[in-house]
Symmetry: C2
Subunit: 134 residues, 2 copies
Amino acid sequence: MTTMSAGERRERDRERYNANLAGCPGHELLAALSDKWVTLVLSALADGPLRYGDLSRIVAGASQKMLTQTLRKLERDGLLTRTVTPAVPVRVDYALTGLGESLLPVQRAIKTWAETHIEQVHGARAAYDARPAP
Amino acid sequence: MTTMSAGERRERDRERYNANLAGCPGHELLAALSDKWVTLVLSALADGPLRYGDLSRIVAGASQKMLTQTLRKLERDGLLTRTVTPAVPVRVDYALTGLGESLLPVQRAIKTWAETHIEQVHGARAAYDARPAP
DNA sequence: CGGTATCCGTCACGATACTG
DNA sequence: CAGTATCGTGACGGATACCG
């Protein structure tokens, strides 16, 4: 069968396209960074290692589940290390790796742009929202 | 009433925290950029204005709904302009604003980091996944 | 051509309870 | 202290159909 419905074709195209996206480094990174808590955890650890409890206090908005999930993901990606000290009670420290630290300048670049231009964005939004209704 | 259940307190804390987050320029930007299609649209327009149809072909993975939604958001934020030329059929052009263009270097920074370090990340993942099961 | 309107599945997230 | 297990829900994205 060489024939194929338009729907099938579109679906196949989308799959291909998404496969490309998944393989694109830029997108992978962006997907990782955009995670609500990743940035917060990373910058919390920028000043030095922290224990789980400390992190959960600093990143106060995160649920236990989300915090753990985020930490595991970052550990898997080699951005931080997880060190368990067997004692009673247990002690777990998290610290940035070199790779993780190398990400901090990128974060700063983003932050800098944001602080420099956010006013303009807010202004544009206000203007847009104030337009006469269609 | 000065008393409050632990649950209520946590909930209130989370709300406050999220309110802070919403006001944080860095997070606002990150939330905007992380949108699956924003980066693609922006870089598609980096070389010059495009019509809606062109965009939908270049950003092939996006559904019509998502593409329109993304374009509207970017227009609202002042990152691009939408120009309607009343004719038959209608013609709509999208172009980056100065503000939108100023975002391109940031995108490049992200892309550069990704291309430089993604191998390490993949290596770390492989190592993590290959560890002996607990 | 360039959209809007509507329905619908899924899945990420949070709350809660329990464990080594 | 530092998690794991389980369940409920709501926002988001996709498919489809229709409009100026």
